[in-house]
Structures are given as C-alpha cells and as structure tokens.
Symmetry: C2
Subunit: 233 residues, 2 copies
C-alpha cells in the first residue's frame, strides 16, 4: 500500500476535471481527508503533488485553490506540446526508424484506418482510436530516446485538454469531430512517411502542425459548453 498519496492525487485530478471541484474553489485538507476516509497527511502529500503539476495554487494564508485556466493558456500549452513532440519526431527521424518502431507505427496507422473507416463513429471505434493515438505518440516520444524531453512534455500535458489524448473525448458536433479525426490521422500517415524517410525537419513541422488539431478540438469543446475549468477569457 505504498501509494496512498498517488491514489488520492488521481482522485482529486479526476474530480477537478469533471467539475466536482469548480475552478477557483478552495481545497481544504480536513474535508478532503474525511471525504476520502484517510488522514490529513497523505492528503497533504497529494496536494503538494498537484501543486507541482500546476493544477492547484497555494492560497494566501495556506490552503490551495483550484486553478482557473484561460483559453489562451491552454492554447499556449498546446503550442509547447507541438514544439516538444516536433523535436521528438525530428530526433527519431534523424537517428532512423528501427524495424520494430516502424512495425509498431504501421500497426497504429492500420488500427486508425480501421477505427475511422466506418461512416459514423461508435463508442468502441472512438475508444480504439484514442488508444491508438496515445500509443503512436508514445512510440515517437520513446523512440527519440530523450528522457528530458519526456519530462518536459509531462509538465505540459498535465494541463487539462493540452495532451494529445484530449482530442477524443468531447461530444460536441459528432460530424465535426469525425472530420477532425480523419484529418489528424491523415497527418499520422504523412508523419510516419517522413520518419521512415529520415526527413527530420519535415517530421518536426508535421508534428507541430498536428498539435494544432487540439486547438480546433478545444474550440469545439468550448462551443459545446463541456469544459468546466476552462475560461475563454
């Protein structure tokens, strides 16, 4: 049972994302500890971790506040993700795709083609696409072989809706989402092509542009009114 703070932090993250703790709300230790059935000590550890991730801010006079994110901040985070994932793609292209990596990426492309093939997306296909998307991005990141890059990326994708996996979940306009995913997956194909050809600069540019999809998706989400902690200031 070595990970009680981890579990608590995950629970709080979830609750912040789904709106159980509204933006700007104060997080006090005692109510949280009671609600979760643990003591204040692990709760404090979890809060410290969330503060390090940037999800909450230390309040004047102690305690923490759920941070409010503006649309501009999330868009900035998405741009940084593009810059970092672009670097990963460039590094991978420059050092050459291993046969194993090539095979894994091709499998991702095929899985994406399969998931998006139907005229309309059902929940299973959507989940499948999301899993594939995560895997593809993870392969490129790992393939770059740069641990510092992974750390920096983690610091940025801790923000809600900044991660690549945030492409999928919204409900908004289903047709618009399908179109967006088709476009994104076409970019996946081009990206793998560039990686396999050792075209580092092209791979970097493609990946940077690929991240812009998240911006469009974010606007769809906001238009649908589903984001609870983003403020389009």
């Amino acid at each position: 049972m070595a990970g009680q703070p981890q579990r608590i932090a995950q629970t709080l993250r979830q609750q912040i994302f789904d709106g159980s703790h509204a933006a700007g709300a104060r997080l006090a230790e005692i109510p949280l500890a009671e609600a979760l059935g643990v003591s204040r000590t692990p709760v404090r550890l979890a809060l410290a971790q969330l503060e390090a991730e940037g999800l909450i801010l230390a309040a004047p006079g102690g305690g923490f506040l759920v941070r409010r994110f503006t649309l501009a901040e999330v868009e900035d985070a998405i741009a940084v993700r593009g810059q970092l994932e672009g670097m990963a793609a460039r590094l991978l292209a420059e050092q050459g795709l291993s046969p194993a990596a090539r095979h894994a990426l091709d499998a991702c492309l095929a899985a994406g083609d399969e998931a998006l093939g139907a005229p309309t997306l059902d929940a299973a296909a959507l989940a499948s696409y999301g899993e594939m998307n995560d895997r593809l991005h993870a392969i490129i990141l790992a393939g770059s072989g740069n641990a510092a890059l992974a750390r920096a990326l983690g610091a940025v994708t801790a923000l809600p809706f900044a991660a690549a996996s945030a492409l999928v979940p919204h409900e908004g306009s289903r047709a618009a989402r399908h179109e967006l995913l088709r476009h994104a997956h076409r970019q996946h194909h081009l990206l793998v092509e560039a990686l396999a050809a050792g075209q580092g600069t092209r791979a970097e540019a493609l990946m940077r542009e690929h991240a812009e999809n998240a911006r469009h998706n974010l606007r769809l989400i906001l238009a649908a009114g589903e984001a609870t902690i983003i403020h389009p200031a």
Copy 2:
C-alpha cells in the same frame, strides 16, 4: 515560517550539487531530520518535491536515492532547453519587441560587453556576466508570454548543468572559458538583432545553437573533474 519544506529542499539541492550526498546515496528521513534540526514531516515534503524535480528517485522498499546523471542525459536536457528557448525567441520575434524589452536587452548586451572587455576575467566580471546572462534569458522567456513554456523549461533546467546559468561557474581552463563566453555573447548580439528585426525562424535557430554552448562547457567541466554527480557513461 510558512516555508520550511522549501528551505529544506533548497538545502538538499545544494548538498546534492556540491557532493555532500553522492550520486546513488540513500537519503533516509531520520538522519536528514536530525541533521537539519526538524522533524520528519517537512523533510518528507521536501523529498517529495525533489522527486518531482527528478533529482532523486524513490527507492524500492521506500526511501530515496540520489539520482545519477549520465553525460548523455544532461546533453539531452540541454538540447531540450535549446528547443524551448528557441521557441520563446521565435514567439517574441513574431509578436515584436516592445520598446521596454528592446531597451532591457540592449542593457544586457552592454553589460556583457563591459564584463568581457578586459583581457582576463576576474571574479566580479564573471559574476556580472552570469547575472546578465540570467537576465537576458529571463527577458526572452517572459517576453514570449507563454506560461506553459516557462513551466516546461523549469522542468528541464532543474537538472544540474542544464540551465543557461550553468555556463559560468566552472574553473577548468580559464582561457577556454573566456573564449566560450565571448562566443556566447556574440550570439547574444545576433539574437537581439534577429528579435528586433522580427526574424522568428532566425532567432529560433540562433537560440537553439546558443544552447549548444552549454554542451561544450559541460565537457570542459568534466575534463576538469569538477562534476560530482555526472557520470560520463
């Protein structure tokens, strides 16, 4: 007295950097608490923060180990810093230098010229250059107006010798260091020129290359045998 964990974390960072805690050494709570004259609770908070920064790793069976950094890892971190600071420079160039920013950067350039002007560098000039260097990089980062970028950069420069300010401190060959600093400052001039001209891509490329100085400096440090936690594996 609201920041005891912060103070402890800073002390531990210092002790890790100067070798008081060797790489691979185990950090136990009780000895640390006794040595610092505090209880185990704030020590635990400080250790959690250092773990989040990546300086220490959770050991199997509890406790923490001082992380060992290989030369390759630090070089990777430097490359990531170049990518991120390059982005900051590009953003700043694209949105245009404000008169205030232009003035502040010119002041940095002048201060650097002054510090490096003498045929040999004394300690005061070195400190002055270091302060100027920090300021210049901070101005560019702040000028980009991208908070996520600052966060990602912070995650990377937490590693020893990866930050821009790591250019200065080593003793090694004084002549080589002076030459390195002159070269770096010449790049500062070019960089400000590109920023003022709105040349985003040029500014980004210059900044990326500028970070490579840290790699050369790192090798000088290693050659002088001053790095205690870097392992040239």
